[in-house]
Chain length 146, copies 2
C-alpha cells in the first residue's frame, strides 16, 4: 500500500471528519430549539444583518442557492424567518428574521462558548487557534479561486 493512499496522509479526510464531529457537537444544543447546524449558520448571517436576499446569504455561507432556498423554506415553516418578494428587484426573495428568530440569539447565547470549550485540547488553545484559522482561511481562499 502506497503512502499517498493512506487515510492518515489525507488532509481532506481530517477536515471532513473534524467538520462532521464538531457539527455533531452542536446538535444536543441546537436540536432543543428545532435547529440544524446549517440553519444555525443562516441565523448567524441574519443576526449579523437582517433582511437580506437569498443570494446574499448563500454567498456569505459559500453555498449555492439550491442548497439555501430549501433550508430557508424549512426555517420559514418553523417560524424563524419570513420570505417576501423584494420591492426594488422583484426577482429577489428577501429573508427577514421573525421575533422568534431574533429571540433565538439570546437563547443560544452560550452556544459559541460551549462548543468552543469542547474543542480545546493540547494543541488547540486560545494561543494556537489564530494560526489554525489562518491556515483554514488560506485553504478556503486557495480553493475558491480555482
Amino acid at each position: 500500500m502506497e503512502e499517498k493512499f493512506k487515510l492518515e496522509n489525507q488532509l481532506c479526510f481530517r477536515l471532513y471528519t473534524a467538520s462532521r464531529l464538531i457539527t455533531q457537537a452542536y446538535y444536543p444544543i441546537l436540536s432543543k430549539f428545532g435547529l440544524t447546524y446549517p440553519q444555525y449558520l443562516a441565523l448567524l448571517v441574519l443576526w449579523e444583518k437582517d433582511e437580506r436576499p437569498v443570494n446574499d446569504i448563500a454567498r456569505r455561507l459559500m453555498l449555492e442557492t439550491n442548497t439555501v432556498t430549501p433550508l430557508l423554506k424549512r426555517m420559514e415553516a418553523e417560524g424563524v424567518v419570513t420570505r417576501g418578494q423584494g420591492k426594488k428587484d422583484a426577482r429577489q426573495m428577501i429573508v427577514k428574521l421573525t421575533k422568534k428568530g431574533r429571540e433565538l440569539q439570546k437563547k443560544l447565547t452560550d452556544v459559541p462558548e460551549t462548543v468552543g470549550k469542547a474543542v480545546l485540547c493540547e494543541s488547540v488553545t486560545p494561543e494556537t487557534v489564530p494560526g489554525l484559522f489562518g491556515m483554514l482561511d488560506d485553504i478556503i481562499k486557495q480553493l475558491k479561486q480555482q
Copy 2:
C-alpha cells in the same frame, strides 16, 4: 452584533467550508470514474486491507453503518466491490474489491498529489502541514471521546 456570533470567529464554519471545497476539488477527477468522494474514502480503506466487514470500514471512516451500508451497495451496483455473508460470523457482511475496484488504484494514482498541490498556499506548505494534521487530529480525538 456580538463578536462570538460572527462567522469569522467560528472554527466550525471554517472546517465545514474547507471540507466542502476540498471535497469539490476531488470531483472533476473522481466523477470520471463514477466515484464520489465518500466512495473514494471507502476505496482507500479497502486498498489498505481488502475483505473487511461493514463495521470495520465504518469504524475506520468514523461513520455509522447506516451511512456506509447504502454507500457500499451503490459501489456494488457499480461493480467496484462485492458484498457477501461472512463465514465465521453470519451477521457480518464482508466487502471485497472486484478486479475493477483494485484496478482503480492505478487509474487514480495521481489523485492524492493533484489535490495536495491544489491546496498548497502561503501558510499551507509541506513544512506546515504536519502541524495542521496534528491540530485536526487532536480536535477529532477530543470530540470522539465525548
